[in-house]
């Protein structure tokens, strides 16, 4: 049984990539149906109250909203598959720009939050799993449960009141202060990265200070899930036969836990953490609103409220692709960690 890593890995990745197409198709269709069936349309929502019904009808006709649904559907599909995401009806922003600009900001926030979640969640979960049913375990679990139970916007409110208003240590809104933001050239819209690229080191403290509260709030919430996942997986892993065999060879507890248990537990943890991408996105929407973070989650809610079909569909497509890429990455990481996963 020779090892055939690259060949099957490539085939695996290709299969997964191909699955993207039907997934995107399904999501687009679902969103299309939901949006069109929901009452209202973007023109009505933005200027309906200014115009007479006749004028409104003219504009809706011009925009093609009175065409049969199927025609609109196929028109849109055609657009998407030629890579044209179009322009938002509500504010004339090219959707691709919206995606890169706001998507970049969300990426910055979610990456930082994920870092927090992992740095807090994995050690605590490890401790809890290893010292099962001790006070350490119980308090870690309780911490994880309670912090997840606190709604993100509530936690955000508390954080803002404490660290912003009362103590005045940290800013409570936006990605950067006004002057800093005007100063930075946004290449990636992950402003910290942009500052580094341009060598604007002086901007970093300001950017980092703005990132702390939202990332911490969102990250701690997610860490609640991570703690429990790591704990469960560590417990399950520690029951593994190879663990007992290692102990029988006199391997110390620390070696057993760190070398064997944690690494093996990581496989499902990495998978499930990656799947938290969807959870992270939802949490990001609320965090972005609470902290005025210029992210894509918030824009999506805005466009949803404005019934901006073009923008919503473009963003959903981009988001689906992002989720797929993330799960592909997860699978690649898994395949790298676990040599068995290379079917």
């Amino acid at each position: 049984m020779a090892s055939s890593t690259t060949g099957s890995l490539r085939r695996y990745l290709v299969t997964r990539l191909l699955l993207v197409i039907p997934m995107v198709f399904i999501l687009l269709t679902i969103v299309f149906i939901l949006m069109r069936v929901a009452p209202g349309d973007p023109i009505q929502a933005s200027v309906g109250a200014h115009l007479s019904p006749a004028q409104l009808a003219v504009r809706e006709h011009q925009a093609g909203f009175d065409k049969p649904l199927l025609v609109q559907y196929f028109n849109y599909l055609g657009q998407v598959f030629t890579g044209n995401f179009g322009t938002a009806i509500t504010d004339h922003q090219p959707v691709t720009q919206v995606i890169t600009r706001n998507g970049g900001a969300t990426l910055e926030l979610t990456l930082a939050a994920m870092l927090v979640a992992v740095l807090v969640g994995i050690p605590l979960g490890l401790l809890a799993g290893r010292m099962r049913d001790t006070w350490i375990d119980v308090s870690s679990r309780l911490f994880g449960i309670v912090i997840y139970a606190a709604p993100v916007f509530f936690l955000g409110l508390l954080a803002q009141e404490l660290f912003g208003r009362k103590l005045g240590w940290l800013p409570t809104s936006s990605q950067a202060s006004v002057l800093t933001q005007l100063d930075i050239k946004p290449h990636t819209h992950l402003l910290i990265l942009d500052a580094v690229i341009d060598g604007k080191w002086g901007a970093l403290p300001d950017l980092l200070k703005h990132l702390v509260l939202p990332a911490a709030v969102l990250g701690l919430t997610i860490s609640g899930v991570v703690i429990r996942l790591v704990r469960v997986n560590v417990i399950q892993t520690l029951r593994g036969d190879y663990i007992e065999a290692a102990r029988a060879r006199g391997i110390g507890e620390r070696g057993v836990v760190v070398r064997h248990a944690l690494r093996n537990a990581l496989v499902p943890i990495v998978t499930i953490t990656g799947l938290q991408a969807a959870l992270l996105m939802s949490g990001a929407v609320l965090t972005e609103q609470t902290f005025n973070w210029p992210g894509i989650g918030n824009r999506l809610v805005f466009y949803l409220e404005a019934r901006d079909y073009t923008a919503v569909q473009g963003i959903v497509t981009a988001f689906t692709l992002a989720v797929v890429v993330i799960s592909l990455l997860i699978d690649v990481i898994n395949a790298w960690i676990d040599p068995r996963v290379r079917y």
Binding site: A38, P39, G40, D41, P42, I43, Q44, A45, S46, V47, G48, A49, H50, L51, S52, P53, A54, Q55, L56, R59, Q62, A63, I89, T90, D91, H92, Q93, Q97, V98, R101, Q160, G164, R165, G168, P171, T172, S173, S174, S177, V178, L179, Q181, L182, P186, E288, Q289, T290, F291, N292, P294, N298, R299, F302, E305, A306, R307
Partner: protein, 525 residues
């Protein structure tokens, strides 16, 4: 000082009911008091969102605010007034349907191009040609054609229209550089070029807009700052904390009464107030509202109008940041009366209402579903107050329902809701803007099935007239009729409020019914 040629159409000085701001006399320049630093950067925070920096692509206040500072219009409303004065041109009616403007020489765009009459014609035709879905082309409906000759622009209207000069003060009528703006498409926001006091030097959509002085500006406005930044926030709560921490110097729109009081009591902040003509009213869809006959429906509407306690609403739902409104036309505009006060009295009268209902044979309590919206209008507290008042009278049994904006807007205007709350924001400070769109039998946007041919006649008459006193009379008649028919019940008119950091001046000077936030008036020490 309204220069409209055929007979003077004077204007009242505006003193807003809730205002304690100064009202300066005419002129565009209004220097703030005290020693301010002309090199200062002023930051304004707001929850408004921009639709477009291109005048052809927007019909909303936030976009117009940006455009007022970046472009010039032919005419303007000087701060603290609702007059019309010259801006880039001096204009006059020359005949009932001809309006002529002579450009003031020396105006230039920020890229150095001079402002020509051709640019003006281009700007107007462009708006109509593009007819953007959320654009202001409908404002130019009265115009038949526009031509340029030398330094003169001539508008030919389809019919006599006294409000045409008002249209020319709106940002829809901004002058754009024909060498830069495409004729059939909108221009990207960060590429816009205007001849106003500022240029848009940096723009991150929905986040920041930076305005620096237009080096080629040829107008008369004097700038009190050398940089003005607008920070667009998604939620008012972060706007409040930014104001409290000094991240923004001014917090303007849209703050709740609680938030305003929080800011007022914060260190280093105070409130600047100005008159406003934003209104809220309760609409009855006469096809769907309760009542079996037209007479019963009318009685029900009258009873509601009789029972509502506006003062109580203003205090408990708004902490007195709004004032009771007794006519569709708000106070401060020429021609405004308080017709509903005359008709129904200033205070609620339950007995009278009850009698009216009984006389019409209506069984009480009348079941009524009242719709309201939160994410666009933020009317939760208003609706709750109304419900409580109507229910407490014993004559109504009100159930509240809410829907988010896109649903609400569509449903309200397409025969779905029997009674709903709506608001209005003027395009320009003229009484016609509060009647023309609302009441004509055929074109009313409300679609509430109200039709009174007499009102239609009065509307046509006031639109055709150019005599202020004549128009005032017509409006007075109209308002009396409207108070008797009560197709809708006006509830409050709102002032403008901004939270201002100590040391920042000039904000009060620009909070007036024209709703043009003039960046150049703001100074910082």
């Amino acid at each position: 000082m309204r220069k409209v040629g055929l007979g003077a159409v004077g204007v009242a000085m505006v003193i807003g009911a809730a205002a304690c701001g100064s009202s300066s006399s005419g002129g565009a320049a209004s220097p703030g008091g005290g020693s301010t630093n002309p090199k200062a950067t002023v930051v304004l925070g707001t929850t408004d969102t921009i639709v477009s920096a291109d005048p052809a692509g927007s019909y909303d206040l936030p976009s117009w605010t940006l455009q007022y500072n970046v472009y010039q219009t032919l005419l303007q409303v000087p701060p603290g007034t609702s007059d019309i004065a010259a801006s880039a041109a001096n204009c006059d009616f020359k005949g009932k349907t001809t309006y002529v403007c002579n450009l003031v020489p020396g105006q230039a765009f920020s890229n150095g191009d001079p402002v020509t009459a051709d640019d003006v014609v281009f700007s107007f035709n462009r708006v109509i040609a593009i007819n953007s879905p959320n654009g202001p082309a409908s404002l130019f409906a009265p115009m038949k054609s526009v031509t340029a000759s030398g330094n003169t622009v001539t508008f030919t209207l389809k019919a006599p229209d006294a409000t045409w000069p008002d249209v020319l003060t709106t940002a829809a009528a901004s002058i754009v550089d024909q060498k830069v703006f495409p004729a059939k498409k909108l221009l990207a926001d960060d590429k816009v070029v205007g001849s106003g006091p500022y240029q848009l030097s940096s723009y991150t959509p929905n986040q920041l807009a930076e305005f620096t002085p237009n080096p080629h500006y040829g107008g008369s406005a004097k700038l009190n700052n050398s940089k003005f930044v607008v920070k667009y926030e998604q939620d008012a709560s972060t706007l409040v904390s930014d104001a409290q921490s000094g991240q923004v110097d001014i917090a303007y729109r849209t703050l709740s009464p609680t938030q305003l009081s929080a800011l007022e009591s914060s260190n280093g902040l105070s409130l600047a107030k100005g008159a406003g003509i934003e209104i809220r009213y309760l609409v009855f869809n006469q096809k769907l509202q309760p009542g079996d006959t037209a007479a019963q429906k009318l009685a029900i509407r009258k009873a509601a109008a009789q029972v509502i306690d506006r003062a109580s609403i203003a205090s408990s739902a708004y902490r007195d940041t709004v004032t009771p409104l007794y006519s569709i036309i708000p106070q401060g505009l020429n021609g405004a009366t308080e017709a509903l006060k005359t008709e129904y009295g200033a205070a609620p009268d339950v007995t009278k209402a009850k009698a009216a209902l009984e006389a019409a044979g209506v069984t009480t309590p009348v079941p009524l579903t009242l719709w309201y919206n939160v994410n666009h209008y933020n009317d939760a507290d208003l609706a709750t107050e109304l419900m409580r008042q109507l229910n407490a009278s014993g004559l109504f049994k009100v159930k509240l329902q809410t829907a988010e904006w896109a649903t609400y807007d569509k449903a309200a205007l397409t025969d779905t809701y029997g009674a709903f709350l709506f608001g209005w924001f003027p395009d320009y400070p003229d009484a016609d803007d509060y009647t023309g769109p609302f009441f004509p039998c055929k074109t009313a946007f409300l679609n509430d099935h109200y039709c009174n041919p007499k009102v239609d006649q009065l509307i046509s008459a006031e639109q055709a007239s150019t005599s202020e006193s004549e128009r005032n009379q017509i409006f007075a008649q109209m308002q009396t009729l409207l108070a008797q028919d009560v197709p809708l019940i006006p509830i409050w008119q709102g002032g403008q409020v901004a939270a201002v950091r100590d040391g920042v001046t000039g904000v009060e000077d620009t909070l007036d019914p024209a709703y043009d936030f003039r960046f150049w008036l703001v100074g910082k020490s």
